[in-house]
Point group: C2
């Protein structure tokens, strides 16, 4: 099978982006990726668009985005995997190149969540799960889902509110240094503890925001990548799994089984030992839609033993210089979480880190040349784990 | 690159299927496909779900469908390419196998359009295109879009209302013989001509209906397919293209440029001469969302010269025994058009035709062992053309 490399990356400012429409927002990211790869739209042979868009008037976002970006008449599809839709877009473009169908493909993730009023967006997100049992009958919204995880985790392992706070403080610390982040300001533990309760124990400052934004990557086959760039970042492997639509069927609320399974798959293909996974990576992007999710991610990715993820946070081991730097672009918490774009944004951040192109104050030391992205859709309904490397994989 | 074969097919009764919910509907098709391949859900390594679902309460249809079918925790995504979403699902599963990521994948297309009241469904479909310019400002709904094509075609080439009627009559003729069809009754030219006008010149009997239904195919790599079945149907090639989001930017209303481009791609990869394309195929499934669309498809696929597609209809050359049998399962017109399922339904119909498993009165003579599916999303915003063969392609 063919090797596939990232040869261009693009990223918009995340935040309230009602200054543009959906296609203009996507184009900001696509244009940057094309310029980085020194390519024209006509060079792209296929493109995938990650977009959930339940809040959007546009029924065919891939088409509207594609035409505005000059990608029409190239083939396309829109993909959705809830909050992992960006990773689904990456997967679709990856498979198109890896399979030999095309040599150059673009994956763009875009979401303009402020197209609808916030209460409507919160309702639509709340339907992610089993509509009938959870939303309609129990009235669960998204913070409620993750609050169940947080209380279960804290009860079982003894994590404290302050441990969750450490995640928020770290991600705001790095968000303050990322010009693309929605929230570019640091927060203190006092501010965290005093922030408004949303769903116990999750406070406003545990929660990722409603965000507009886009990110894009251009992928190429090995032969083509070599001609275009001398700094390809290879996609080494990808794991993908799903979880029950119904939270009442889960056996355990203290981790995300689908994320664990996706990590196992990705690690196996890349010959990475789960127990020592953190030693392989220079940087990780994980899905901190709520602070508890980042702690569970540490364990599902093998960065900490079961029940010890919160200690990594407490000991500040996921800052730059610690055991493994995690979400040093601000994460979903501070960078923002435009749900169709987040997975692609993770790929962009890791690529730029591995090439020493990260924003000032956020650059990690690159030793092994490897990074990992962990993107969850719903509350573990979807999980995608992708491994990136500056070193060419053996095929 | 690896060869990919269809090793199992499933298809529900199309029509008003509010007797079941979305996941039960999908399962009807998945179960049949699993039984045909003699596989269990656990054998499926990856699955894609084609679903538009704007009318649905479920935000994560792939997850709900996957869990009900016992496919959880396998990886998945939902794909959307408007009325070509079924072909997008086929593509995603095809790429997953062809790329070597998995050996066995399932593609299911499902749509339950009667979840919402018809006027709301008509509004949502009408947004397919450029929402702002076409729907919001000009009030174009879907029959209106295709009426523009029909009037342009008739004016340029001299086709008559009765030529459109021939398409409807043929597709109802075969629909009457397909137990899965929504409309299992023949119609006469008189009934056609007297049917209610929807958008001149398109009448009610020119129009595909609002439909619920599901279809599934199981794909496998060559090595695995050989172990499972002695009658694989190979996917020889697939072409995919997109068209302008804005009809006012089209240079020509008498054909669907994206479909023509997708056919060119698919034919090139399969070494098929466009001018003689009809000679290669024993059967074709084309996207007759309105009768005019089938006539344009004849030309975009090379079954007739430009401006002569309507003559194929007039001369009844697309019945069994004619130049090339088209939509002999009833097509979108009579079989029905559950938009997420249609592309997969086409693959099911062709597979069963090539294996002499079509419904009584609809079986074509299989000479070359090849068929082609033409699936259009929006009004040519998306197009997927897929070629199937009983003969193993050379890789």
């Amino acid at each position: 099978m063919r090797n596939v490399a990232i040869i261009g990356t693009g990223h918009t400012k995340f935040g309230v982006r009602t200054d543009v429409n959906l296609q203009e927002l996507a184009w900001e990211a696509i244009k940057q990726a094309l310029e980085e790869a020194n390519l024209e739209p006509k060079d792209i042979q296929y493109f995938s668009v990650g977009n959930v868009g339940s809040w959007s008037a546009e029924e065919l976002p891939a088409i509207v985005v594609g035409e505005y970006a000059g990608l029409c008449p190239k083939g396309t599809m829109r993909v959705e995997a809830a909050c992992a839709s960006g990773s689904a877009a990456l997967r679709e473009a990856y498979l198109a190149v890896k399979s030999g169908e095309v040599d150059i493909a673009l994956a763009v993730g875009v979401e303009q969540m402020h197209q609808s009023p916030n209460p409507q967006v919160v309702e639509l997100i709340g339907r992610a799960g089993n509509y009938f049992w959870e939303f309609e009958n129990f009235g669960l919204t998204f913070p409620g889902y993750y609050a169940l995880h947080a209380t279960a985790y804290m009860a079982k392992y003894g994590a404290k509110q302050e441990d969750l706070g450490e995640i928020a403080i770290k991600n705001h610390y790095y968000g303050a240094r990322n010009p693309y982040a929605q929230f570019q300001k640091e927060i203190t533990m006092e501010e965290y503890l005093n922030s408004r309760m949303v769903a116990y124990p999750l406070k406003l400052l545990d929660s990722s925001p409603i965000t507009d934004g886009a990110a894009a990557v251009i992928l190429a086959s090995e032969d083509v990548a070599k001609k275009i760039t001398d700094s390809p970042v290879w996609i080494v492997s990808q794991g993908v799994a799903s979880g029950s639509a119904n939270l009442s069927r889960r056996t355990d609320y203290t981790h995300i089984e689908a994320a664990y399974l996706a990590a196992q798959q990705a690690y196996k293909k890349a010959n990475i030992e789960f127990e020592n996974a953190w030693k392989y990576f220079d940087v990780a992007e994980v899905h901190d839609c709520f602070t508890i999710a980042e702690i569970m991610a540490y364990e599902d990715l093998g960065f900490a033993k079961r029940g010890e993820g919160y200690l990594l946070a407490r000991e500040k081991q996921t800052y730059i210089g610690g055991r493994i730097p995690v979400n040093v672009d601000g994460g979903l918490k501070a960078k923002g979480h435009p749900i169709g774009a987040t997975g692609v944004s993770m790929a962009v951040s890791i690529t730029r880190q591995l090439l020493y192109r990260a924003h000032k104050g956020t650059q990690v030391d690159v030793k092994n040349g490897m990074g990992v992205a962990h993107n969850v859709g719903g509350t573990g309904h979807y999980a995608y784990v992708t491994i990136f490397s500056t070193r060419r994989p053996s095929t």
